[in-house]
Symmetry: C2
Subunit: 339 residues, 2 copies
């Protein structure tokens, strides 16, 4: 197992990605190739007091963050770290790419270097949310802000493949994020997607409201990338807010502070289960290789966890299964007896 | 000040609405008319040990909850409690309506009995979210699941009027809920709405991400009713979830439980600030009268707070201001010098 890490991606690059690579190499006993300008990475490695070893793959700087021209920038810079990391996977020299870089840049690079799996209309970004009751896979969290119903069905198929293959969930339950549970509820897009999801080869259990996403009633929540982004971000924001409130209350008096000292280890555990650093990263599904996108503010711990997510997907055979299941056109149910 | 309360609306009607009416009458010193079948309401009042007084306005039962036919059901039952309550406002016999009934039924009744304010394309439901940093008004939270950009601009105008008139916020800052802050980000709808909001007579400060809604950087967050519903519900769900986690940790050992006893009053305060019962209710804006919609599971405390919200709006002159500002067609800025 070998992971290619874009050492130049993210707000804290290259220091924190390098730190994360060393942590992962040590903890998981896997090969990690850190990709970026050799001199800068060597300088970072010298600062790290560890006996872990990673390999440097020399590459250029990161892509300039011009949102409008990101795809062109990616194509114009084949030596950019993210492109070199993708090429390692394309050429069979690594099993997965991890980057905390700009999501648009990572996606553009994956499309450019790895390409889509045949049969996939729109690759999408899915995020495994580790709630206490169960893990929930939310897809799409931002790749496709304007979707057709058929895209949402494919997101369901990709999310279902992920939960089954990577997470070992048998016959994953799929729910459509909606403004009500009844099948009569929804906007134009979700009303149509609901009908199409019922016809798909999926364990589709119906609509799911925003308030129930965390409850473990479904394994996969499908939605368009705009709504998914809002849901993910509101959830992160509110979780932070509530924890801040609890902290503020605890600090508000000497008496409480005394009690809080006793509670601290336990509260830290609760806080930890909410933090993005622990999630690891989001999965770009539908391209020809395992690609994990970390949070832009990823520190070493977050990068390490993103590598864990990538390793899990790479060892699962997910890509091979998706190639097999999407490459052949699905037999329309109305014609299935005519074959 | 007189509030008409639909005593038959909500999962816990009529017991909890009646309780809430009595609490509000006592605490706020206002007249509350409870609307519903006289015999049932009299039976409820007898059970309540209070010296508070409310008036009964006799009416029929509630509307059957058939989602598809809700508008027809409302029209067919002029004697239903919600319609009788609306008629009190229409006829100047009450200053506001409060109901914890089905949102679709309350909206249909408001359209049918009160009608829209001239110039309003689509009434919308706005919710005041009481974060510690500031109050934020989220609109639309579910009335209009498919919107045009022009609707979203009007939601901004209505939300801005609410925050200015009812909450005393000078020149309220308006943000568009979006999947990124940059003006280049968004789906088709938000890209167009962004441009239109810039041209509107609003203190539009740009896009706002889901993670920043609670931070008090804007006073009004505008969005279509589908996205607003998801944002509201995900926020509620995650807040509940995080508090459950904290509670579970606190209960997980005898040592922690001891500390938790000391912390309890403080934590209860933190929990309280997250609970919908305290919010009071959502405002249906754009109809010819003050209408507040409580949560379907409203208990007496929640109904009391919904009455507080209604009273605040009714005494603010909001409806008169909206009639004045929407009834005249706005002068397009490109023609403003041409008189």
């Amino acid at each position: 197992m070998r992971i290619a890490l874009d050492a130049m991606g993210g707000d804290l690059a290259p220091a924190e990605p390098v730190k994360g690579a060393l942590l992962a190499a040590k903890e998981y006993g896997i090969d990690v190739a850190i990709v970026g300008p050799r001199a800068r990475l060597e300088a970072e490695l010298i600062k790290q007091p560890t006996d872990a070893r990673v390999q440097i793959v020399d590459a250029g700087e990161t892509i300039a963050m011009d949102e409008d021209d990101i795809a062109r920038e990616v194509r114009r810079n084949p030596e950019a770290a993210i492109n070199v990391a993708m090429a390692l996977v394309r050429d069979g020299k690594a099993d997965a790419v991890v980057s905390a870089g700009n999501t648009g840049a990572v996606m553009a690079s994956a499309f450019f270097v790895l390409g889509r799996i045949p049969g996939i209309e729109r690759p999408a970004v899915g995020m495994l949310l580790p709630y206490n009751s169960a893990d929930v896979f939310l897809i799409d969290v931002g790749a496709n802000v304007d979707c057709r119903a058929s895209h949402i069905v494919q997101f369901g198929e990709m999310g279902s493949a992920y939960m089954e293959r990577v997470r070992g969930v048998k016959n994953p339950r799929v729910g459509l994020l909606n403004n009500g549970e009844e099948s009569s509820k929804g906007n134009e897009l979700t009303l149509e997607a609901h009908e199409k999801l019922k016809e798909a080869k999926l364990n589709f259990i119906g609509n799911i409201e925003g308030a129930h996403v965390h409850k473990g009633v479904v394994d996969v929540v499908v939605t368009d990338g705009f709504t998914g982004n809002i849901a993910l971000k509101v959830g992160e924001g509110i979780a932070d807010y509530v924890l801040q409130q609890v902290r503020a209350v605890i600090k508000s008096s000497v008496l409480y502070t005394g009690a809080a000292v006793l509670l601290k280890p336990a509260l830290r555990r609760a806080f930890k289960s909410m933090r993005y650093e622990e999630y690891g990263g989001a999965n770009l599904l539908g391209v020809n290789g395992v690609v994990v996108i970390g949070h832009g503010r990823s520190d070493g711990m977050a990068v390490k966890n993103a590598i864990r997510v990538a390793r899990e997907a790479a060892s699962s055979g997910l890509i091979e299964q998706m190639r097999a299941s999407f490459s052949k056109p699905p037999a329309p149910s109305s014609l299935s007896s005519g074959g």
